[in-house]
């Protein structure tokens, strides 16, 4: 599948090798053992989001007739109003296939293919000015890993294609443990080179290049506790604006720093045999966004191969420096978009750049059928509200945003 593209991206990755070698790290740190068996996994995702109505913002505005994809129809998002006064926005059907194969006792090859079909209605400013859109994304990545007695080195390449967006990536990472294997250091880097050709503005022929580095430490604390700290830095240059938004002109540079701390603890003493995963992420970027993310999940093994995993995620961010809030006129009539201040160099009315908080509640259930087969199902409910912004700079003109997702997976070991 897509062998032509893969070859192209592999060649491209090789060209970028020199640049990427100079960068720091990537990916998960505590994976330095050769997989014992081959694994093939399949997963299906169904996602649907919806957003509260401000009013009947009927016509689409300003000739922004459609977002990416072949759809030419221009309609307000009318698909399926729900009883709570919100409207369905974007729906996604995706499937992924992954294979991981150990080779010659010291190597492994992993590959993932994803097909991602998106359709629905997306706002062209704030929560309003809906434009119908469809899109199909296909992505493939390949990773080769060499294992040593106290570490591993991986190189990988990725290719992702939408009708208006192509991304090519290359990454390398290495990990090394101390002699007692209680401490593992990880170092990695990646480089992505993206091409952007918006369907509605063929004159826009843009690029975006992002280089990232990561440094990590994983430490065994007790026989029941392991912790990890990753710090990553990302430096991007190119086209960051959203061509499908009405007023959107963003800086051509975006640099970010991320710190991620994770802690896994196993309950041996109280007889539950459960494991808790806790993580905190701090994110800061040159757009002025600061974000905090707290994740907690609890893995509870039950009888006969059943496992249940409830999860909670809390997120909060402040607004970007150039975010333009809903104005008085738009607040009264959502069909009247708010122009940015006349002296603004950069501006955006993308609600993802506003101040808000979000909560996810979910549960995953899996069943190990026998030593070869594993099946799982996951349900998550997600909600975003401006009132939940920790920094108090939420935009009251935005309506709450909700989403739910369902995943169904099956995995076979050989």
């Amino acid at each position: 599948m897509r062998s032509g593209s893969t070859t192209k991206s592999t060649v491209f990755g090789t060209v970028l090798l020199t640049a990427a070698l100079a960068l720091p790290s990537v990916e998960f740190a505590y994976a330095d053992a050769v997989p014992e068996r081959s694994i093939v996994s399949f997963k299906y995702l169904n996602y649907q989001d919806n957003q509260g109505l401000l009013s009947q913002s009927g016509s689409n505005t300003n000739g922004l007739n459609t977002t990416s994809g072949a759809s030419s129809a221009v309609t307000p998002g009318t698909s399926g109003s729900t009883s709570s006064g919100s409207q369905d926005r974007i729906g996604v059907n995706a499937y992924s296939v992954m294979a991981l194969v150990p080779v010659a006792g010291e190597w492994s090859v992993g590959t993932t293919y994803t097909s991602d079909s998106v359709s629905g209605a997306s706002p062209t400013y704030h929560s309003s000015g809906l434009a119908k859109m469809t899109d199909l994304r296909r992505a493939i990545d390949v990773e080769l890993t060499r294992y040593f007695s106290r570490g591993s080195v991986s190189v990988g390449t990725s290719y992702s294609k939408e009708i208006d967006y192509i991304s090519r990536g290359f990454n390398i990472q290495g990990s090394m443990s101390t002699e007692d294997k209680n401490t593992t250091f990880t170092l990695g880097g990646s480089f992505n080179n993206d091409s952007i050709n918006p369907v509605i503005q063929p004159s826009v022929d843009e690029k975006k290049q992002v280089a990232s580095g990561l440094i990590g430490v994983t430490r065994v604390l007790t026989p029941q506790d392991i912790v990890q700290l990753n710090v990553s830095y990302s430096k991007g240059t190119g086209y960051y604006s959203d061509p499908y938004k009405l007023y959107d002109n963003r800086p051509r540079h975006r640099n970010s720093v991320t710190a991620l701390a994770r802690w896994n603890h196993h309950f041996d003493d109280n007889g539950t045999d459960g494991t808790v995963h806790l993580s905190y992420r701090y994110y800061s970027d040159s757009f002025g966004i600061r974000a905090h993310t707290l994740d907690a999940e609890y893995v509870q093994p039950l009888y006969k191969g059943w496992t249940v995993i409830p999860l909670l995620r809390l997120y909060a961010q402040n607004e970007a420096d150039f975010y333009v809030s809903v104005g008085a006129a738009e607040n009264a009539d959502p069909t009247q978009p708010t122009p940015p201040p006349s002296d603004a160099v950069y501006y955006s009315e993308d609600q993802r750049l506003s101040g808000f908080g979000a909560v996810t509640l979910g549960v995953k259930v899996s069943k190990q059928i026998n030593k070869d087969w594993l099946v799982d199902v996951k349900y998550e409910h997600y909600e975003q509200r401006e009132q939940w912004s920790l920094s108090g700079d939420g935009d009251p003109g935005l309506t709450p945003f909700k989403a739910r997702s369902i995943q169904v997976g099956v995995s076979r070991a050989f």
């Binding site: 994976a31 392991i226 990302s234 720093v257 997600y382």
Partner: protein
């Protein structure tokens, strides 16, 4: 944009790393025969890769922040 804005958190993070590194010498080392629990899949940080990929993809296309666990994988036009 404003470079000085980036530096303060960067220093804090570097400090955190150094603290973590210095912590390596503290405490009793866990012995190989005590690592049966740590070898269980749910005690690793890898998790279900396809699940993680979907979840991170959704969050990065609906929120301002992204990344942290790794830097591999392809970009997309969804954010």
């Amino acid at each position: 944009m404003k470079k000085y804005e980036m530096q303060k958190p960067l220093y804090v993070l570097l400090l955190m790393i150094m603290l973590a590194l210095s912590g390596c010498a503290v405490g009793t080392a866990v012995q190989p025969w005590e690592k049966e629990t740590l070898a269980r899949p749910e005690m690793t940080f890898e998790g279900d890769k396809l699940d993680t990929a979907y979840t991170e993809h959704i969050y990065s296309s609906k929120e301002g922040a992204s990344g942290g666990a790794g830097v591999g994988g392809g970009g997309c036009g969804c954010n």
